[in-house]
Symmetry: C2
Subunit: 261 residues, 2 copies
Amino acid sequence: MVMVVAYLGGGFRGFAAQPGQRTVAGALTGALERHLRHAVDLTCAGRTDAGVHAWGQVVSFDARADAVPAAMARAVNRALRPAVVARAAGVAPPVFDARRSATGRRYLYTVVNRPVPDPFTAATAWQVASPLDVRAMQLACDPLYGEHDFASFCRRGPGSRVRRVRHAEWTTLAGGLLRFEIEASSFCQQMVRSIVGTMVEVGAGRRKAGSMAGILAAGDRSAAGAPAPPHGLCLWEVSYPAGSGVPEPADTFEGSGVAFQ
Amino acid sequence: MVMVVAYLGGGFRGFAAQPGQRTVAGALTGALERHLRHAVDLTCAGRTDAGVHAWGQVVSFDARADAVPAAMARAVNRALRPAVVARAAGVAPPVFDARRSATGRRYLYTVVNRPVPDPFTAATAWQVASPLDVRAMQLACDPLYGEHDFASFCRRGPGSRVRRVRHAEWTTLAGGLLRFEIEASSFCQQMVRSIVGTMVEVGAGRRKAGSMAGILAAGDRSAAGAPAPPHGLCLWEVSYPAGSGVPEPADTFEGSGVAFQ
């Protein structure tokens, strides 16, 4: 089975199940197990950290042969809405694995660049109270494109930090909202938040846009800025090869695009 | 003193102070009294019900002569952000009264018309899971314009329910979001929510758009539909005559318009 899941990260200690903690995987597994009446072992496309949101998280798991995807989605939504929502569910081929089958992940990070805080964006955007130079932040995106070792932007630990970034862009929205979109094959831990934290230092004039290439080349976590807070980050979309069986969510009656509000 | 205040209504039992309840007025009064070190008696432009939000609520109160408006706003924001935010503060002439001096109020109501719930709009929009005919809902706006007795759309009680509606309009936004905007001299209790609840019945095909004039003329609460839930409603803006001393919030560094997100 495969399910596309949205959640607000604020109430959870991240995605991955942890004993004694309220996690997205724990909540989802519980709702699915009550519905299916057998143990469920979830695999996800992106293990989001505590406080990080998702619009298009993808999870896969085995279910009994007579399980009906739409009924599973309704059971999840009855139990967990509105904090966690199953946007779509389907039957995946046996070889499908939400993590290993994924070919790309797209994250959005939202900054609200206003002098005064705003109750309506406080849960999903990072308020930066000094004016930011978005053009400088955009220039700082260029060195990220392509395959690099992102050790400067990732938590230390075992394993390669080589990743391929396909897209990195800042967009100015209405009302002082700035949106950073980044797409890569995959991401290592804290990578998007560390990139955003460093770029906001560029926007605030505390680093030069031209310093980004050097920070990347340093391969050293201390070369980059502190990670931006988790509540501005959202796992937006995960891509798979055609025919993977991941269902397309029908979020609107018109089938039009869905805005991240 | 006069202050422009935004808040998320979800955590409060409405605006008006009530003993033993967490209310917006109670929270604001507490923060102001701790800062000013004297008793504060708030007047507001619109007494929003439990669960209703505000972006442009206006409050007035007396403060000691040496009180600094910007310092008061900062004290409120330190104590109450992000649930309640002072967007601007200023000195008002002694005759100013946030309620009696107001010449108009504008409310927004947001419906999210999608088959599947959405965590990101759940706190500020009413999800309607069956498709709505927005053109029919727009037609139902026409009879509201002008001066009428709105008894059909208001809670029973003493006092006139005659109000003047200057503007009433539905707008379709991206991603299945529908926005209702209504402006009037003032509103009686549950008026916007009852109008929206009735109009959504029109949009769902359970009432005809042409029935709106008859519901209004009936002058009977039972003629209209049930009120829409409070969490979709937001007191957006209050208008005053020029020179009233109400400060203009500077929400963005560019001074551009602010989007309700």
